[in-house]
Subunit: 113 residues, 2 copies
Amino acid sequence: MEGRIKGQLLKGTTTLLVLTVLRDGELYGYEIAQRIRERSGGAFVPSEGSLYPALHSLEAAGALEASWQASDRGPRRRYYKITKTGLGMLKEHAQEWATFSLGMARAVGGADQ
Amino acid sequence: MEGRIKGQLLKGTTTLLVLTVLRDGELYGYEIAQRIRERSGGAFVPSEGSLYPALHSLEAAGALEASWQASDRGPRRRYYKITKTGLGMLKEHAQEWATFSLGMARAVGGADQ
DNA sequence: CACCGTATATCAGATAACGAGGTAGCCCGA
DNA sequence: TCGGGCTACCTCGTTATCTGATATACGGTG
């Protein structure tokens, strides 16, 4: 599918996307980016410059717990696991997204088709 | 009444919102903000600091044509009208929003499963 | 005259994405 | 054994644009 999204529209969604993919299990950074790309149908390809700072920020906020683990093929990986705090944050962000999405649907949706 | 959205999520949506409300007719700035607030169900209340620069930018890009008109009660108003270029831009932004929205729906699913 | 609602405009500050650059481990082929 | 490619992490400067504060000015009301 064509049309990769980047730029301003993505602002504020990285946190929600990261927490969402981590709800299903422990993942490392590189893998998180791949999951987001897959789950969005290729629409989102988080850049490293936005993903890693976001992970550090979420860890500092207590939303994620991280640990280094060796890989049998390649450099070591930093695995992230969502915490209770993170689950609460996920719920908040999901709710905020729902409100935002609904507002946009009302404002621009249907009207143009 | 849902919470008002502000902050990062709004980045990049002002252009689409402005062009959308102007498709239905000529409006002045203050009125554009009110329409967006109404149509979004109160979720979006564009601040002056984001709306006016956006209008100037759209006018400079040829998406809008503007003219000063006196008001019988209050200060003069600057009316904005969407151009052919603006209609094309609206179509592009609406398409981008659709892709973005679909990607989010796929990635985060039906809110919280 | 003071105040409020209307109406436009601009500014400093904050946020967070992007691309580019760097480090490093492992595998494969020349 | 050297180089290139993939994996995997990290950081930096640049860019876009939203927020809240501040400013100007008109008209009606108390």
